[in-house]
Symmetry: C2
Subunit: 231 residues, 2 copies
C-alpha cells in the first residue's frame, strides 16, 4: 500500500472573489479518491480575509488578535494563545503576517468547513471527479516544540476515523480508537508545501477509500472546552 | 514535487533481541534519502519492553503507568495524562495493551532516539544506503479530538526545520519558523500503517534532502516544562 503527496505549484496570486476550486482544476490532474489540501493563506486571500494593518504599531496587531478571539488562554510577551470563534486554540488567533502583502494581515476563513465543501463541489462540477478537501493551517501545540499543519476545515472525508469495536492484528479490541486522519493528511501535505515555497495546494492520493464520508472539523474534531483536561 | 509513503508489511512477529534493522533491510527496497518510520510497538517488542500484567486488576495497570511517569498532569477516570522520563506528555505514560499478547503491556522504548540511531546504522551496514529513521507513537493532544502519530525518536534528520532568517514567497521574513518535520513525517506514515493493519514500518521517499542532519527528538523537539505555557 502506498500514498502519494503531490505539490501543486504555479497558481497565480489569488485575490478576493477568485475561483480557487476552478484554479485547482486547471493546475492539478485530479482523480476520484484524491484528497485536495489547500492552505488557509490562499483561502483567506480568495475570501477577502486579508485586512490592512499598521505593522509599526504592535497595538494594532494585538487588537486584531483580540477581536478574532473568543477567549484568551495564555499570554507571554507578544504571544497570545487564544480560542477562536471556530473553537480552535492557536497562537494569535490565527492572525498571520507572512505571505501577505506588506501592511496586511490574513485572518482565518470564517467557516473553513464551508470553504472545503465549496471547493469540493466546484471540483466535482469542473473536473467531474469526487475528491475530499481539507483546508490546512499551521498550529503550535503544548508539550512539543515546533509547529505542524492541521486541518481547520474538511469536506467529503470523516475527520476522525473511528476504530471502536475493531480489533488489532492479534484480534484484541483496540484501545486507541479515534484517529484524527484529516490532521495526519494535513501534516503529510506540508511535506511538499513547506513554508517558503509557493505551493498552496497538495494532492494526497491513495488514502483508504473507506475514510471518505461525512463530517466537519468543527463538529467532529474540535474538542469542546468542557471535555478538555487542559482548559 | 512529490513524496511517496510506502507501507512495509510482512514482517514476522518480533520478539526480544530481534534484529529489527536487519528485518527491514530484508523486506524494504530502501534508497538513499528515504525516511524509515518504525512504530513504537514493534520497537518495544524487539527491545524486550513488553511486560506481563494482570489485565483483570486495574490497579496493576495503574501502578505500571505511575512507575513509567515522572509527573502526573491530569486524571479522569482510568485515564492518566502524565510526563514520561523522556519528557513526553501522553496518556497512560505510553503503556499500551493493544497489539501485544494477552496479559501483557508494551512500555515505551527506554531511549527511542538511540533506537532510531541503531536502526539507521544497521540499515547502512546491511543495505548500504543512507536513510533517516523515526520511531513513531500515537498520542492524543489538548484542544483537538482524536490521536495522531508523532515522532518519539529520530536519527539522521533534523527534528525541527528552522526557517528563521528565511523569507516567504513575497520576500518577507517568516513568522512561523520552526516546523516539527519529524512529527509531520510520522503522521504521514500513519496513513499507510493504520492501527488495525499489520504494517509496523513505512518508508517516506522524496522529502527535502536539506532536512537530513543532526539532532534528536529528546533534545530538539521535547519542550521543557519551564517553556511550556500549559504546565
Amino acid at each position: 500500500m502506498s500514498v502519494e503527496i503531490i505539490g501543486i505549484a504555479g497558481l497565480p496570486e489569488v485575490g478576493p472573489g477568485d475561483d480557487l476550486g476552478g484554479l485547482i482544476c486547471q493546475r492539478a490532474e485530479l482523480e476520484d479518491g484524491d484528497v485536495v489540501v489547500v492552505t488557509q493563506k490562499v483561502v483567506s486571500k480568495a475570501e477577502g480575509r486579508v485586512v490592512p494593518i499598521d505593522t509599526d504599531d504592535p497595538r494594532g496587531h494585538k487588537a486584531l488578535v483580540e477581536r478574532e478571539s473568543v477567549r484568551v488562554l495564555r499570554r507571554r510577551g507578544d504571544l497570545i494563545i487564544s480560542e477562536t470563534q471556530h473553537g480552535f486554540v492557536c497562537a494569535n488567533a490565527g492572525v498571520d503576517l507572512s505571505n501577505v502583502a506588506e501592511g496586511h494581515a490574513a485572518l482565518l476563513p470564517r467557516d473553513p468547513d464551508r470553504t472545503a465543501r465549496r471547493i469540493r463541489d466546484r471540483i466535482r462540477a469542473g473536473a467531474g471527479v469526487d475528491v475530499a478537501v481539507i483546508v490546512s493551517d499551521t498550529f503550535g501545540r503544548p508539550w512539543r516544540c515546533g509547529v505542524t499543519d492541521v486541518a481547520i476545515g474538511s469536506a467529503g472525508i470523516s475527520p476522525i476515523l473511528d476504530l471502536r469495536g475493531t480489533t488489532d492484528a492479534l484480534g484484541r479490541e483496540l484501545e486507541v480508537t479515534e484517529v484524527a486522519i484529516v490532521d495526519e493528511i494535513a501534516a503529510a501535505a506540508d511535506l511538499v508545501m513547506g513554508k517558503a515555497r509557493n505551493v498552496p495546494v497538495a494532492v494526497v492520493r491513495g488514502v483508504d477509500r473507506a475514510w471518505f464520508g461525512e463530517g466537519t472539523v468543527r463538529s467532529g474534531l474540535v474538542r469542546h472546552p468542557s471535555e478538555d483536561l487542559f482548559r
